[in-house]
Amino acid sequence: MSVLARVVEERGEHLSIAAVEGEIDASNASAVAERLRTLLTNRSSVLVVDLTATTYVDSAGLNLLFELAGELDHRQQQLRLVVAPDSPIARMAAIVGLDAAVPTHPTREAALAAQR
């Protein structure tokens, strides 16, 4: 079977960006989470997860983002999400309240410009 999702990374000293392309479901959520965790170092302060190119996410994927946000918060780090407004992903995030729990931005630029 081909891979459902691909993670495209940009590592920075304090801020890293991960764009998730494709679909996140129960079969690959933990693998995607592992991949995102590798982007964090002791020195990083912000992880931007860009979901613009994510074509499918269900509760397994949303749960992973909640968990990741909690872990980062615990380590004085911050998770920022990029979710295109009016996209299906935005609808899913709204239903479970992810957009209220985790800083969510309409574009990557907005996420990068945001203050802690």
Binding site: M1, E23, Y56, D58, L62, N63, F66, M92, V96
Partner: protein, 541 residues
């Protein structure tokens, strides 16, 4: 002990009757063997009877290997070490080797002064030997020899009697070997279509494999496997030659083809890589191949042909035509061979038929006549199993000189009601999504509606998958209907409902409720049923 056959002339008319009786007992075992015994059991039984007929201390059967150059000790009585130590004798050398090479009986009166290759014969104290070739239809299968621990002069009559026994034994051995090889070939072929691909991809597949009547293990094979949720690869190939070598090449090609295909290479490249691999590793034999990738989402089929008869494409209205394409040369001929693919429309109702030459070749007739006969029979056919049955009945002769393989794949139209039983495995979820999306499109759902309904359905399926980690429930059923613009999904599994655990489990139910108009979850003694409903066109995005 010796007198029994060494003095036949003095026994008058009675002796041949005794021999005949004993040969009859051999005949009985060979007859019975055809039905039930394995090759090894048969050989063992034969040796017991033969050493009894000739009153010898030892007996052994050596059979020629695939290359016809080595004799392998396969069964022995009194000299069991021969088999245990895997004795191999080159044809033409030593006692057994000479018998196979010269195709005649050889006697050795005194082992101490003879050219014996196999030390076990001397170590066991054998003094005299008599051996004859095992021959079927002019072909040497191996050697049968008997030995005596005391010096004995094997007479011409002994040799004749042993040869008579060997001739009968050879037929039984040939029969048992072929039947074992045939079972192996069939096992190989039958294992190839592990899953029903129709629910995953909307593609229905049927296949047949018919071994040749007389030849051993053939080199025809077919395969079908999912590359991803939308694409299914189908292949058919014919390794030139027969026997274990052809089967080994076949097994290797099949694995290589799957590996390269799943790696994501384009079809023409897959064929080039498989061809290249043949020159790098292991046994090589000229092989013809058709490799095709059917893309259910795009409604297309991409075909690559390597020296193989052209695939037959049958339209939904039943018109059949050959896809001649840009055929390349067979695999295993040139390391730098290049292949090109051809892409054709593959709409619902379209069928592609892949086959091997055994289906279209008849002795004394041009292949064009065979192709035309196949094309006519495949025109306006029924369902795939009926088509296969019809083609086998009409085109595959009872007495086949060659093996025959065929595989047909048809894109099914999207059904009005979606109904399927799925393995309760997380990796299947993407396939469920794809099937449901495809169905919702035909029901006129908008993109957002499709997304919402698919997510809600997945949440219900994910529950079923989790239940499967408990004993007893390894599948779940999904049924989708749409009446008067109202979509109703039912997901049923045999597991017991697990109460939401922590916040995470709660979110799945929260999403189902947020995305659908109604959500019903029923936990019964026999499982859990989730019913989801949503009216299409009722919500503003």
């Amino acid at each position: 002990m010796i007198g029994l056959v060494s003095e036949p002339s003095e026994q008058g008319a009675e002796q041949p009757i005794t021999d005949r009786d004993r040969l009859d007992s051999l005949q009985r075992i060979t007859d019975a063997a055809l039905a039930s015994l394995s090759v090894e059991q048969l050989l063992q039984e034969l040796l017991l009877r033969i050493s009894d007929i000739l009153s010898t201390d030892t007996a052994a059967i050596l059979l020629l290997d695939e290359t016809d150059t080595l004799l392998h000790a396969r069964a022995a009585k009194g000299i069991e070490e021969e088999v245990e130590q895997g004795v191999k004798i080159p044809v033409g050398r030593g006692f057994a080797g000479r018998i196979a090479a010269e195709r005649r009986a050889v006697t050795i009166e005194d082992v101490d002064h003879a050219d014996i290759l196999n030390p076990i014969l001397r170590e066991k104290g054998i003094r005299s030997l008599l051996g004859v070739p095992l021959i079927v239809e002019q072909r040497v299968l191996g050697v049968l020899h008997v030995g005596s621990l005391s010096p004995r002069t094997f007479t011409g009559e002994d040799a004749a009697l042993l040869q008579l026994a060997a001739d009968r034994a050879a037929i039984a051995i040939e029969h048992a070997t072929l039947s074992e090889q045939r079972q192996l070939a069939e096992a190989l072929q039958r294992r190839l279509l592990p899953t029903d691909l129709s629910e995953m991809t909307g593609l229905e597949i049927a296949s047949r494999y018919l071994p040749a009547s007389h030849e051993s293990l053939g080199g025809d094979w077919y395969d079908a496997f999912a590359i991803d949720v939308a694409r299914v690869a189908v292949a058919i190939g014919d390794v030139v030659g027969h026997g274990v070598l052809a089967a080994a090449v076949m097994a290797q090609l099949r694995t290589a083809l799957r590996a390269y295909a799943i790696e994501g290479h384009a079809p023409a490249r897959v064929v080039e890589l498989v061809n290249g691999m043949m020159f790098g590793l292991g046994p090589r034999a000229m092989t013809t191949l058709v490799y095709a990738v059917i893309d259910a989402d795009k409604g297309s089929v991409e075909l690559v042909t390597a020296g193989h008869p052209p695939p037959l494409l049958i339209s939904s209205s039943g018109e059949a035509r050959y896809v001649e394409g840009r055929g390349g040369i067979p695999l295993g001929v040139s390391e730098i061979a290049r292949y090109e693919s051809e892409t054709l429309a593959f709409e619902p109702g379209t069928t592609v038929l892949l086959y091997t030459d055994g289906l279209v070749e008849t002795r004394g007739e041009s292949i064009d006549a065979g192709l035309e006969r196949l094309r006519r029979l495949a025109t306006r056919n029924g369902d795939l199993e009926t088509l296969c049955m019809k083609l086998v009945a009409q085109l595959a002769p009872r007495e086949r000189a060659d093996d025959v393989a065929m595989l047909v794949a048809r894109m099914l139209p999207v059904p009005e009601r979606l109904r399927g039983r799925w393995p309760a495995d997380r990796r299947m979820l993407a396939s469920v999504r794809r099937a449901l999306r495809r169905w919702l499109e035909t029901r006129g759902a908008s993109d957002d509606e499709i997304y919402d309904i698919v997510v809600a359905c997945q949440e219900a399926c994910a529950n079923a998958v989790e239940h499967a980690y408990r004993p007893g429930a390894h599948t779940f059923d999904l049924c989708a209907t749409c009446d008067d613009g109202r979509v109703r999904l039912t997901v049923r599994d045999a597991g017991r409902w697990r109460p939401p655990r922590g916040t995470n489990r709660g979110r799945g139910v929260m999403m189902m409720r947020g995305l659908m108009d109604s959500v019903e979850i029923c936990h019964g003694a026999r499982g859990t049923t989730v019913v989801l409903e949503r009216a299409l066109g009722a919500r503003s995005a």
